[in-house]
């Protein structure tokens, strides 16, 4: 099929399949999936400026499906999501400014590529270690007190992380204004802590491209103490708003092929439904453990791009 806006020829079946895989991962892990969608479009000969803009547009549609599904499952904290949007947009602008500075001074592709690899491998290693540790503690609990452990295991949303003490310490910071996040089960937390986490996520989004859910979702769990299911749903809600902003700015610059995004989204819509439903069958630490290979796939794609001299997703 010819997509005249971007001047590319791509099979719609390929786009639907790519969309389906990304939708599945997005619905389950709360990530945009740019680290897979970008290279998949680029591989089909789409110009890089269209890759970035079109990917963001398809993320909007996919996030609506996943966020609505997660909302129905009670996994979206709207208040938290709305507060995070402010920090994210500021972070995106800061990240984009740093890119502009690097463009003038250094080889931006190599600097960004190496930073991306370090970030992705660090997140993956940390989450593997933490989730494994948490699952070991659960197993030990099951041996010492099987009745209580079974009761707790049935409640898949009763989440705990090996770094709960860090989140508790952050909750104790009394820097006004303090907010209450009823849906996340947090009585009092400084607004500045939420904005900082959102800013860092937004910064990586502006600096490395995509929605940066791979950094925001774990940060919400480990630093803000948000249960994994709610972190996944709220992250999608937040991505929906920030990606809409990105779509408008990129489309005005002529970087969006809406027909490619619409076709990709038909696959993503069903994938996102299945992915979001699947979260009901797994406990938080297990979802985090399944998340581990994703950043590594992204890192491998960038290593390949740097070795072959191609670009990754910018």
């Amino acid at each position: 099929m010819d997509f005249l806006i971007s001047g590319t020829h791509i099979s719609p079946i390929y786009l639907v399949v790519v969309g389906f895989i990304i939708g599945l991962l997005g619905g389950f892990f709360g990530v945009g999936g740019s680290f897979l969608a970008g290279p998949a479009l680029f591989a089909m000969g789409m110009p890089m400026n269209f890759v970035v803009g079109t990917d963001l547009t398809h993320i909007v549609g996919k996030s609506i499906v996943s966020a609505k599904k997660h909302r129905a499952l009670g996994n979206v904290d709207i208040k938290l999501g709305a507060l995070m949007v402010v920090g994210t947009i500021a972070g995106v602008e800061a990240g984009a400014q740093l890119i502009q500075q690097l463009k003038r001074k250094a080889n931006v592709d190599q600097v960004v590529g190496v930073c991306f690899i370090i970030v992705l491998v660090s997140i993956s290693s940390f989450m593997a270690w933490e989730s494994w540790k948490r699952l070991q503690i659960r197993r030990r609990r099951e041996i010492s007190n099987p009745v209580a452990a079974r009761k707790r295991a049935l409640d898949l949303k009763a989440d705990d992380s090996a770094f709960a003490h860090i989140a508790r310490r952050i909750h104790r910071i009394k820097l006004p204004p303090m907010v209450r996040l009823r849906e996340s089960g947090i009585e009092r937390i400084s607004l500045w802590a939420i904005l900082l986490v959102a800013f860092v996520g937004g910064f990586f989004s502006g600096f490395l491209g995509g929605g940066a859910g791979y950094i925001r979702m774990p940060s919400m769990v480990y630093f803000l103490g948000i249960p994994t299911h709610i972190a996944v749903g709220t992250d999608l809600f937040e991505i929906m708003i920030s990606a809409s902003y990105g779509t408008l700015t990129h489309a005005i610059k002529g970087n969006v092929d809406i027909l490619v995004a619409l076709v990709m989204h038909t696959g993503a819509a069903i994938g996102a439904q299945i992915g979001a439903t699947a979260t009901s069958y797994f406990a938080g630490p297990r979802i985090r453990l399944f998340f581990v290979p994703l950043p590594l796939i992204g890192a491998a794609i960038i290593v390949y791009g740097l070795i072959t001299g191609g670009h990754h997703s910018r």
């Binding site: 005249l4 806006i5 719609p12 639907v16 547009t57 398809h58 909007v60 549609g61 996919k62 996030s63 609506i64 499906v65 609505k68 599904k69 809409s244 779509t247 408008l248 489309a251 005005i252 610059k253 002529g254 969006v256 809406i258 027909l259 995004a261 619409l262 076709v263 989204h265 038909t266 696959g267 819509a269 069903i270 439904q273 299945i274 439903t277 069958y281």
Partner: protein
């Protein structure tokens, strides 16, 4: 595999098949007619194109979400 998981898997598979047929019809009917019109707007006014692009993806997101949810509900009621 327990009965609940088997039912979920069957309903998802049926949904994928029904959904694939609908998407195929969508490609041939809607995208074919939209293509030329969108290219024309893209070349004439990027601001209108930007608003239209966001509107289309949001509408498709809402419509497909409603469609997939309704399909899943209908298939589950048939299986029960």
């Amino acid at each position: 595999m327990d009965a609940k998981s088997r039912d979920s898997l069957i309903s998802i598979l049926i949904e994928v098949v029904v959904y694939a047929a609908l998407v195929l019809a969508y490609f041939f009917l809607v995208l074919h007619f939209l293509g030329g019109w969108l290219l024309d707007i893209y070349q004439r006014d990027k601001r209108i194109y930007a608003v239209l692009a966001l509107f289309l993806i949001v509408c498709q997101g809402v419509v497909l979400e409603t469609l997939t949810t309704a399909l899943l509900k209908w298939i589950r009621s048939k299986l029960d």
